[in-house]
């Protein structure tokens, strides 16, 4: 039940982010779908004890592949789906938390958040690269 609610909140939030990014109207429901699919994979991978970076990597590669599919089907650049789709995974909140902890003088927590930011961002980029590789092949 909790997972269903989370996924619903994720779909709603991602679709709304697509509106904030002025995505084309036709792409809206699919952007939300892309983001929710990625988030579901991420949660599932965490259930399987994947570790944060690996879970994010797998989720991002699913998003990348789905975005390339959608890009073909709807004749739009994949960026449209990727930009909104990665929002639930992206380490924005950790970046903010790292800086907040630094400003409060809690350096240990700050470094922890900062390292999370770095490897999550790298894991997403690497995951998305998989979609790009498959397209170019």
């Amino acid at each position: 039940m909790k997972i269903v609610l989370s996924l619903a909140a994720c779909y709603l939030a991602t679709t709304c982010f697509a509106v904030v990014f002025s995505s084309p109207k036709k792409a809206l429901p699919y952007s939300g779908l892309c983001g929710t699919l990625g988030y579901a994979v991420y949660l599932f991978a965490l259930e399987l004890n994947f570790g944060l970076a690996a879970a994010v990597f797998v989720a991002a590669s699913v998003i990348g592949i789905a975005a390339e599919f959608l890009a073909r089907a709807l004749r739009m650049p994949a960026t449209v789906f990727i930009t909104a789709g990665i929002v639930p995974l992206v380490p924005g909140a950790s970046a903010y938390l790292a800086m907040l902890r630094f400003s409060q003088g809690d350096y240990q927590a700050a470094l922890l958040s900062a390292s999370t930011v770095v490897y999550v961002a790298c894991a997403i980029s690497a995951g998305l690269a998989i979609g790009t590789i498959l397209r170019r092949r």
Binding site: L12, P24, P91, A95, L97, A121
Partner: protein
């Protein structure tokens, strides 16, 4: 019919791009009375097209790729461009001569709809189209009304803030607080952006408003500060920016990767500074009462 062409409105800022007369078939001359050469029009077209794509949130390689494709189709023999987040350098060969121009680009806000339309234009344009009519097409695409009204986008930001508060472990009450905070942050940023305020100041104020609204609510209701604040600042936070920075670096656009990483760093410093300042002021006031 003579239509003046060259004022385009981007992100509510009126930018004077280029003043010329479009008579339906050719771009005649600039306001000062100079006739425009073919190469001038093509350079202007390339810069305008690249600037629009870059401002609207396209990746670096896409800006380079699409503008090359477009310019080759309107008759450039050779196109070379260096695109960075802060500017575009463009060289082209027309009728055997090499021309170069530079444009400074100030960051805009995301408009994926425009990216999509400009990208499609570069793919669907027939080869040997003349640059003049393509220029007019690009300007008309840029002047199209945005797909969503400001109000709808504000509503979307509100709902997104609530949704992310839930994902960060908020209760129903936190979700409402987060949504309200997100709305206040959105309104503040929209207002400050219209005053042409610096980006750092905007993000700082956004963070402060988020912390203040959550703090005020926590006085009367049992609201958890952390999820409510994070939900409220979700539309400001540089997550997508940071990830795109790493993606740029991975595809070899090192300059742009580094530049965007620095930008993301400063955005998060600004937001955290705003939240931190508001929190400490808030705590000291509450200590007095």
């Amino acid at each position: 019919m003579i239509i003046p062409l060259g004022f385009i409105s981007l992100n509510n800022n009126l930018d004077i791009i280029f003043i010329a007369i479009w008579d339906g078939a050719k771009i005649r001359e600039t306001e000062e009375g100079y006739t425009l050469k073919k190469s001038d029009i093509m350079l202007r077209l390339g810069l305008l097209y690249g600037e629009l794509m870059l401002k609207s949130g396209a990746e670096i390689y896409r800006v380079e790729d699409s503008s090359r494709r477009l310019l080759v189709k309107v008759g450039a023999e050779e196109v070379e461009s260096i695109v960075t987040p802060t500017g575009i350098y463009l060289s082209l060969r027309v009728d055997g001569h090499l021309y170069t121009a530079v444009r400074r680009v100030i960051r805009g806000s995301y408009d994926l709809n425009l990216v999509c339309e400009l990208n499609t234009l570069s793919r669907t344009l027939a080869t040997q189209t003349d640059a003049d009519s393509t220029f007019a097409t690009v300007i008309s695409l840029a002047n199209n009304p945005p797909p969503y009204s400001r109000r709808l986008q504000g509503l979307a930001a509100t709902v997104a803030g609530g949704g992310f508060t839930y994902l960060f472990g908020g209760t129903i009450l936190d979700v409402l607080a987060g949504a309200m905070g997100a709305m206040l942050v959105w309104l503040t940023c929209l207002y400050l952006a219209q005053l042409y305020t610096n980006r750092f100041v905007i993000d700082f104020c956004g963070g402060a408003i988020a912390a203040l609204s959550a703090g005020l609510l926590s006085l009367v209701l049992p609201v958890n500060m952390d999820p409510a604040v994070i939900g409220a600042i979700m539309t400001l936070v540089p997550g997508v920016l940071l990830t795109n920075a790493v993606r740029d670096a991975l595809t070899g656009d090192l300059l742009s990767g580094a530049a965007r990483m620095v930008e993301a760093l400063f955005v998060s410093v600004a937001i955290a500074g705003g939240v931190g300042a508001a929190l400490s002021i808030w705590l000291s006031i509450r200590g007095l009462v």
